[in-house]
Symmetry: C2
Subunit: 140 residues, 2 copies
């Protein structure tokens, strides 16, 4: 059975589900920082997913990426599967702006996370509802 | 016509070609740090590739990733499409070891690159020849 790694459960909000992946939001309002996490157990690397799941991950990643560029007006996306700390396969999708806190450097480890206020999170939830109008089930 | 971005040409060795991607090696012997670069012009994001190319990138990335884990005994792979500095789409594939210089932190920007000696590069070339025995054309 699929279970979310405790560290991700602590650091993230669950936004909802694509067919394969759970969509998480890192609780750090410095960035629009999302995570796609395939709902499979005991997988750490993309190549360890079976071929069908690999293709579905790609499909969902590209679908979501395109939406992020359109609706969040990203200058660039940073997509990364690292997993040095949390071995459960998860793929970061971060919206980058040329004027954000660390551009053009990567975001990891530069600034402490700044948790969302209730108002900021409500506003982002609404934005996501307008962004993901198909192929997605919201958790709220 | 496909042309390699000048910054990558400066920082990397060209190892050879998969069907879609050119394989580069970052000239930094601190890490086994490779780049898969789809030979397409004017593409910055994975979702901007057509569907056939996206699937081929995934295929080559997973093929190469599996080989890296097997032949380089990686503890973890770090796979990332960033492109904040070089907008030409390129996907980092970094072999990570639990005792490497920056583990579990990401590698970017932590240490200055340490160029390969001729002997080190010759040895790595031989290792890659033993690793990539199919679906790949070497540049040497």
């Amino acid at each position: 059975m699929f279970e979310l790694h405790s560290q991700l459960a602590k650091d993230c909000f669950v936004i909802g589900d694509f067919e394969l992946c759970r969509l998480l939001l890192m609780n750090d309002s410095n960035f629009s920082w999302f995570i796609l996490l395939p709902k499979r157990q005991n997988v750490s690397e993309i190549f360890e997913l079976n071929e069908t799941d690999q293709k579905q991950l790609l499909l969902e990643s590209s679908f979501f990426s395109k939406k992020l560029v359109e609706h969040f007006k990203a200058d660039k996306l940073n997509i990364a599967a690292l997993g040095n700390v949390v071995p459960q396969l998860h793929v970061h999708h971060v919206v980058r702006y040329k004027n954000d806190l660390t551009f053009p450097s990567p975001i990891l480890g530069k600034f402490p996370a700044k948790p969302y206020s209730n108002e900021e999170f409500d506003s982002l939830k609404q934005k996501l509802k307008n962004t993901l109008t198909q192929n997605f089930n919201f958790n709220f």
